[in-house]
Symmetry: C2
Subunit: 323 residues, 2 copies
Amino acid sequence: MDSTNGSQTLEEQARAFFDSAPPLQNTHQITQKLDQFIQHRSSPSANGENRRIVCVTSGGTTAPLEQRCVRYVDNFSSGHRGATSTEYFLKAGYAVIFLYRRGSFQPFCRSLPDDPLVECFVPTDDLNIRVREAYSEAVKRAVVDHHAAVTGGLLLKLPFNTIFEYLQMLQLIATSMRCLGPCAMFYLAAAVSDFYVPWKDMVEHKIQSGSHFLDVQLVQVPKMLSMLRKDWAPLAFCVSFKLETDSNILLNKAAAALEKYKMHAVVANELTTRKEHVVVVTSADNIIVHRDKSHSGNDVENPLIKLLSERHEAYIKDSSRLV
Amino acid sequence: MDSTNGSQTLEEQARAFFDSAPPLQNTHQITQKLDQFIQHRSSPSANGENRRIVCVTSGGTTAPLEQRCVRYVDNFSSGHRGATSTEYFLKAGYAVIFLYRRGSFQPFCRSLPDDPLVECFVPTDDLNIRVREAYSEAVKRAVVDHHAAVTGGLLLKLPFNTIFEYLQMLQLIATSMRCLGPCAMFYLAAAVSDFYVPWKDMVEHKIQSGSHFLDVQLVQVPKMLSMLRKDWAPLAFCVSFKLETDSNILLNKAAAALEKYKMHAVVANELTTRKEHVVVVTSADNIIVHRDKSHSGNDVENPLIKLLSERHEAYIKDSSRLV
């Protein structure tokens, strides 16, 4: 365990994290996909608003406890927020880079059951298959809308599992999006591990269960939000999330994160009420955003993305005035 | 943390575990489903072989670190072994109680991609949907075979997430299956947490990430295999699994488990080669079981389930001779 962690600068901690991380398997392929996606979007004919791209991160990261990974510390997150928000960002005219945990909720698929294939379809008499009546619209919408977004160059999906993969991919994405200047947005809804075991400190083989107690020591993950703002994509509009189970400390923690990481907005949400309302904390104001209960099927993400999209638009205009 | 854990008897440890566990939400409903399933199977007209029911456990359990669960320690397991084995058990004439981790592989669906709905289907010109040619057979087979097994009363699926849910459900299942005597089999392929944080020792709210280090102390999960053999279903044929990443210690650990927990067989497998070959360790012999490479699509579970089914049949005959 690196006991000097406390006295290192952020840059040193970040470098140590990336140096010790197992390298991404497919960096070249990811970079190529990103460049194509961003280039397609930023053709010279596109005007300012059309060039907006948001990177939505979604689902929880894992922190492996063993190099040949059997056990890991995981963060609870279904990915519902990220998947839903992606749909509303597409509606608002954004192209979306969706950085998601494998197996988490996918855009356009969130009203479907866990195992949609075996739950939504039934055999017909001639040994073919058909959609159950109750899921007919949801299934059609999932396939048609998802397909349209992907083939239209408006949705790029990149999966991760570990905190090592997540942060390396986020850096790749941010570096690729830097060319978009203020037209880039980061909407960081993923539940990112706060603590991890540095790769070099990890045992190679499965931890043996001979003893009655297991003591796991983890160190803090470097706060990469600061790296994103300072180095990776300094002009991008950045929105992070603060999830707490204790409402008493939520807003203070959100305000502290806003200041510490120089975010443009922090979305504060509580575990049990997160689908009903959230608070958007900015340096100017705190805005409570409620789900519109008068229409069924309305999500809190609908007014949330509208608000953030307006703020982003104002930010782009302000930035162009400064140039 | 309960420091007397080391000197408690197994029964005391098991009682302490269950007493402190958050109670299952839907015990009554699960018991009802189990009783119906087992009753349907053990109608008086059924002969000995037809009455065989196996409980297949599949996927990894989680050990929550917080009561309002945001972080947890998870065990890697795709559930591929359990899902595949379930298909072969059904072929071999068993009815299967499939106790699986939410989101893990499902029987008849394992050759499909991660998000089958959006990957296997495409829109048609008239805004309907159709299956992609490449997935046509796999999709049809998944829906038809899965549906036939469930509606035919041959497959009962019960999902879990946490170690608390898993062990409470396993006890319910075993108690319900006790009436089957030696016709019951347990095929325990789930990756069960070795360590957990007792519910009462857990912090209620999310662990705060203010400090540079996090020290997590876990205690050993009571070895419930012994409870299964001694109390819950003493006549059932029991097969457990030993997964290691270090082949040097694998067979010794499997043999030790066989003896310690009085299993009828232990399937020893190594993380990197587990789809190619396994070793079935019994008190009489060690049998290496290989995947038949001459036919594509053959799984190591094919010969494995054949072998275990034969052993189970012999065990049933032996038991009836003793009565």
